[in-house]
Symmetry: C3
Subunit: 673 residues, 3 copies
Amino acid sequence: MAQPMFDRFYYGGDWNPEQWDESVWIKDIRMLEDAGINEATINVFSWAQLQPSEDEYDFSTLDRIVKLLVDHHFGIVLATSTAAIPAWMARRHPDVMYTDFEGRRHKFGDRHNPCPNSPTFKTYAPRLAGKLAERYADTPGLVAWHVSNEYGAYCYCDNCRDAWIEWLKAKYGTIEALNKAWYTHFWGHTIYDWDDIVVPNALSDEWEPGCATLSCAAIDYRRFMSTSITRCFTDERAAIREFDKTTPITTNLMSVFMDIDYFQLGKELDVVSWDSYPRYDFPASAVAMRHDLMRGVGGGKPFMLMEQTPSQQNWQPYNSLKRPGQMRVMSYQAVAHGADTVQFFQLRRSIGGTERFHGAVISHADTENTRVFREVSQLGAELKEYGKEYMGGHVESQAAIMFDWESYWAMYYSSGPSVLLKYVDQIHHYYAALYRRNIQVDIIPSTTPSDQLAKYRVVLAPALLMVKPGVPDAIESYVRSGGRFVATTMSGIADENDQVILGGYPGAFRELVGSWGEELDALPPERPVGVRLENGGDVTGSIVAELIHPVTSSVLATYTTDFYAGTAAVTVNTVGSGKAYYVGTHLDENGMDWLTDVLVRDAALETVDTPHDVEVRVRDYDDGRQLVFVLNNGPETQTVNLPERLSGTSVFDGSRIAGLFDIEPYGLRVIRL
Amino acid sequence: MAQPMFDRFYYGGDWNPEQWDESVWIKDIRMLEDAGINEATINVFSWAQLQPSEDEYDFSTLDRIVKLLVDHHFGIVLATSTAAIPAWMARRHPDVMYTDFEGRRHKFGDRHNPCPNSPTFKTYAPRLAGKLAERYADTPGLVAWHVSNEYGAYCYCDNCRDAWIEWLKAKYGTIEALNKAWYTHFWGHTIYDWDDIVVPNALSDEWEPGCATLSCAAIDYRRFMSTSITRCFTDERAAIREFDKTTPITTNLMSVFMDIDYFQLGKELDVVSWDSYPRYDFPASAVAMRHDLMRGVGGGKPFMLMEQTPSQQNWQPYNSLKRPGQMRVMSYQAVAHGADTVQFFQLRRSIGGTERFHGAVISHADTENTRVFREVSQLGAELKEYGKEYMGGHVESQAAIMFDWESYWAMYYSSGPSVLLKYVDQIHHYYAALYRRNIQVDIIPSTTPSDQLAKYRVVLAPALLMVKPGVPDAIESYVRSGGRFVATTMSGIADENDQVILGGYPGAFRELVGSWGEELDALPPERPVGVRLENGGDVTGSIVAELIHPVTSSVLATYTTDFYAGTAAVTVNTVGSGKAYYVGTHLDENGMDWLTDVLVRDAALETVDTPHDVEVRVRDYDDGRQLVFVLNNGPETQTVNLPERLSGTSVFDGSRIAGLFDIEPYGLRVIRL
Amino acid sequence: MAQPMFDRFYYGGDWNPEQWDESVWIKDIRMLEDAGINEATINVFSWAQLQPSEDEYDFSTLDRIVKLLVDHHFGIVLATSTAAIPAWMARRHPDVMYTDFEGRRHKFGDRHNPCPNSPTFKTYAPRLAGKLAERYADTPGLVAWHVSNEYGAYCYCDNCRDAWIEWLKAKYGTIEALNKAWYTHFWGHTIYDWDDIVVPNALSDEWEPGCATLSCAAIDYRRFMSTSITRCFTDERAAIREFDKTTPITTNLMSVFMDIDYFQLGKELDVVSWDSYPRYDFPASAVAMRHDLMRGVGGGKPFMLMEQTPSQQNWQPYNSLKRPGQMRVMSYQAVAHGADTVQFFQLRRSIGGTERFHGAVISHADTENTRVFREVSQLGAELKEYGKEYMGGHVESQAAIMFDWESYWAMYYSSGPSVLLKYVDQIHHYYAALYRRNIQVDIIPSTTPSDQLAKYRVVLAPALLMVKPGVPDAIESYVRSGGRFVATTMSGIADENDQVILGGYPGAFRELVGSWGEELDALPPERPVGVRLENGGDVTGSIVAELIHPVTSSVLATYTTDFYAGTAAVTVNTVGSGKAYYVGTHLDENGMDWLTDVLVRDAALETVDTPHDVEVRVRDYDDGRQLVFVLNNGPETQTVNLPERLSGTSVFDGSRIAGLFDIEPYGLRVIRL
């Protein structure tokens, strides 16, 4: 079960004292202590400083930074610095730099630049991690090891190609098996020799991003790259573990980042940590979904909010400020969804480098007398007082949504039916509908076994395009035993090689949903389709409309326009003691609310009605405690009517919170049940 | 004259059994026979399968496919498979892969990837074509040879450069002649040595696509590439003809595809075939125009509709379904414009590869019980019954539009006056105006001699920018003898080297139209110009407004706004017993309808008034028969009032069709006169 | 002081007779003489013709061209032809061609193509300039030497890299100093060896244009490139000066072109010349601003309008015609702002090459009987009569705007706060507000010493992001002595290494403006902020809103919306006998007009109220004469009410011009005071 991983609530973030004179360091510490900061994430980009040349290491600056933090009882998240290659290494060992999608080997510069299969990188990165572990394993206050930083870039060099071919040999055994999986008879792509294989990029088979002749080959390259990057992590982890057997090891993830299968990488992390950078116009549901995904990647355990900005970002088109209170409520949103830390990028704003306009606790004004510093301090005081109470709780969800990186990739490579059909959008579309009713959601891998599915009253698999072996059986077993399952257009249509399953959509789930889809109409933006619901309501569908034939299913909604007017748009099939829904179009918000109502009724889901912008979450603790978080994510005062079952006393002042009350803009309540 | 090239109406399309287990093959054949399919286009992408290595050929799978088709009396369009280079060849002979516009040699992958001047390709492609011909020339039911597939990609490698220089030497003889033709004193581009010449691409003189310092050089490279690709075709043709003297040889064209001069390639084809893939929002006139262009490329002879989708495409942004009946009426539209076959891409939908969401006769549902299969079957039955009657007819047109690939290229490289001035748009603008009155149009090369022009009552040359020697004389002679000719802004302004002809626009046609254009104003979208017609009507012009001085001409329309208000926008000049019109701006639809009226009156053109979406075409047969096709290309029922001269009896049921009648959505009538 | 540099008013432009048979030359001269043209700019792109090979030079054609011009008493602007590398040189010495931002060395073609640090270029270009000077220095009528043409392209080759490293060594002395200036601890970019340094481009540290990890490094590369290009100019200048000690030497600039610091290059020019190519929808203020910038680059001296089109351009999306009179008024606008010549690109329109649709005095109609030719002739007659009177005047301005190429670059590399914040837009925003009141403006470098600032009543430094040492002191001294200074958001925030100055914005000007900015909110387009002015007016701000704390300043305007409603948006601080304003948001036009009113009142600026489109300028002469130019830049008749102090007699007819009068579309008055 969920347990607090840390002894206190860590509140801090990235600190880069190596950018500053030491006179600034002590000033920073004093200010940070004033703000209630108790943690610093350090050494994220110091490789060049730590290793000035081939065999020379210099930890003197880091020693002083660590000592200062230890002296001040800071928790330390110690990074391994391997995200950015030193200039000298790039020059002397060009293989260490990545080769991009256009086939161009890069020179020194930028970040996220190593080739994950570079012999040089594979030698030097774990060596550095090991040296750091050897030196700092026993540092008091060491919170976690932070390997690399925001893993990302794919490489397309010859070392990667060679390693890929070995990976393919291990996976397929024979060329025949590979040809079959890759469907190489298409466009005459038959391979006769392992050495014929080239990496799929702009110079070969992925002629523009997302357009690959053989999607299975392109997906295999993604699997391989995801595996290579995961191996970079485990290489460093192993080096650390030689000297430190216990401190948690993590790397910071980026929620819906496409290029790494985080369920794969997540398995290797002792604790998931992630960086939350919503655009100014993201709805709160989009942030909530990302938290839930990250919690899911960690198997439901508490996670670290490794980075967020206290005020603004710098790399968006419009880097708007977080409004007063907004940073606080976003921090609590993270906690409500399972975070056990609140950390910022960054503690002090840099004065140079591309991120110099990114927000920080200590701004360019270099004073405590700023709105942001005050808000950080207020939250710091609050977390010092109550933070420990928040920690270690799990999130009990009656609903689960399957998220699958391979389906994400398959959708990316899907040529047709519509450019508007995007994987994360589809996941969010269903997530947001549940969120509007405050239904808690776990985001889970598609391979979740049926006994683990059993705890959910409803499981949704929007656009779960590729289905791994065993998945349909697990889901069917779940439904037969009473579960509710929702499949959508594009769910279940292809096998693990992205080959379409014959017999009508949704392929692997066809019998389960009791309907088959004959055709997939793409709806241009100016041509939505009308949909009539079983309750008489009229809504619209967009993006796609699937022409569905109910077989054993009942019709819940029908199209009202175009030549398929009168035919099924949504069906439900009773299987054993459960039900399987099939949704053939992208329903509008009213349509999605109706669908949620149907599920709520059918699966007896608990909901809370709140005004738009207000979110209610419950975190459960192993000792039986429950905390209710009532969050106003918006800029207006809202009136909430809290159901009796969620009423209780305020964590902050012990007052009773129940029934009807107002909640101020970006305000929040934390309630002990 | 036009004669049926085939013994029956072929109804079929691409079939790729090599993607499937043989158990599927026989199932396919049974279903296809049920659908009335009698033809299969095979072997389009099988090079890798046919030739596993340097000197090894393996026809065993193809033998079995052919045998199955022969056993079932299918017609066979046998492709040579050379569109996609095998992986092993790309690895062992890198010269075979094309070098792209950015100067990057590609590795294995994608399709349409050979360098047309690669020694490897020139060796292996004809050798394969020859081996296929040797083996399959006597196959019963062999309909046609299908060389390569949708020829396309340009190459910019050193082999192409060397071959280009040889081509230039042959064309120009001396460096001086080349410098003169290329206008190399501009920007100091003087060449002193053949070896100074570099291919015009992103690394040299075409700094971005469409922007070339020396347009004549860039156009020469296009001429050379078009010639090289045509030579790829004739190389394979020659290899086939060693073993098969009679079967027609074709390759599938792509209508207005810019990169190949189809009038050049078309001359080498025994029969033109083409692939019709309109976007969902194409007007019917745009498809009609493409059919007429393809018929023109074949010199007016019947052509093959080599590919169309029975339902949807996969590579458009929105791959909407064809509505019920739409595939049928589009097939008839092809026939009405001169097609003697109706073929699909494809017969069975693939389950992998980038085209897996492209429509097919047998869908992923893998059953005959689909709308598409039923529609295909209905059309199959109809074509089996009546198809032969449709074949071999020609299309008699009173109007002709000149289409010129070199002008297309010259417009592409024209820097100024407006980015909105695009060649195909201009052609369609005039085509559509005639189409709205059901005036049949031949699309002809600009080099059509005057005796062949003589059969047209009106000839239009919109934006015929570059004029080859002899063209102005032929047109003048045509007009003088009574023809009507329409030139527009940008027509006739440059010689065969894309050098502007002095003395006022439209240069080569200046005396003929009896007007000269002084300036070309570019109209931004927010600044249309008013135009008053001789009938008092007020319309608008857009994109460009040419300031025209009538000399011997009369004014038909004048501008009403801007500083050139009151000056001529459209003029007409009487020459001999004919007339030459000059149109100085891009008239709106009302303006174009007026212009059509003027031409109809002046040239006594036959027209048929039909509602929007309804098209009437007549196909004439050498035996004196005439068929009238009345096509409702739209989704609404329309009421048609057929003139007596087009009345007759229905091909389908012998009923009389005349006068006023309703025609259902996507419905059609075929009438024997 | 300003003196006429030339003995007569030169009216002419680019002439490329080498593109034509000699029979055309004499025809051109006759037509040009008819039009009052008295100058030709020649030899701009003739390198390939002048130097057919390594050691061979051929001046015979140029000799004939020069002789013809001399015989006809034309002034000659003689170009050195080095802007476009000959084909043979590109082939034999590939180092001469530039390597682009993507790291690709170019082959022959295009223009502006030399690598400025190529040994080949550094040898051959000055050698050609010297040979030209040796041969033509004594040519009668030689007006000026025109080096290269529109200097531009950056190069990223290894020669440039090596030269850059030497430049960096000279600048920084030690690696430590470089690391400090470049802020290399950011993202671990520490350099240990000069040889580690790579040029910042798409393959290294400028991952996409404008996105650089280390902005100071990227700016240093721009400084180095600007210096290298300036050195190309001075190399040729030195070669010319060996043979010609007196003729002015220039190169044609491009106003706000980003890549060259024109204040650096401008210092080396004997006379500034520039090419004015406004887009059809540019407001007149945008053109006026460019003239003033170019005059400023020349230190206030009269400049040459080296190029403008008499009618239309060819490389814009919509190449609209200049309306009747518009070319004349635009010519006078140049003169009013300090031009002593009016020159066209070009005299005869080419018939080939990418600029064949660019306007010219002699059009493709090849006759004098054109609107453009007539307008050119009318202006020619006018300039022949009055031009000399216009020459040599200076422009007295009470206001100055600082323009700084390094701030331009720093804004380009600024990641955040908003993509809408663009340097030239910000300059124009303030310029346009003054322009609307006919306040004359000098555009000056930020390093202008305080004694030179003293002559201005107000100095504005919009978005002067990077501040060089000494600048804040000079400005403070200026203010203290009674000057008015306007800083805006982003002004003064960084030092000469683009490192942000701590303590609150606007950093270097913080004490001067008596306010400090705490946060910079980015306003998406749909979220403007309300601003209330001290006069009670309500306006809006957009793009950014800075949260400002007045310290010693007074508040002039406050925000009315968002959480910072009620806080300062604009402040003013009294310092000594002057004042410093600080503007925290991008005010709308009404807001800017209010700000101008405040400055007018406060600094006693002289203004003239005119209708929109009408501009009044005064040019002062050393002999005490003054000319007033009243220009109607728009297409409607306007009524002007000229203040008494600007009344006088018409230069054209001696009539009195005063008080209220109408001025026709694109009309103008020139008044002797």
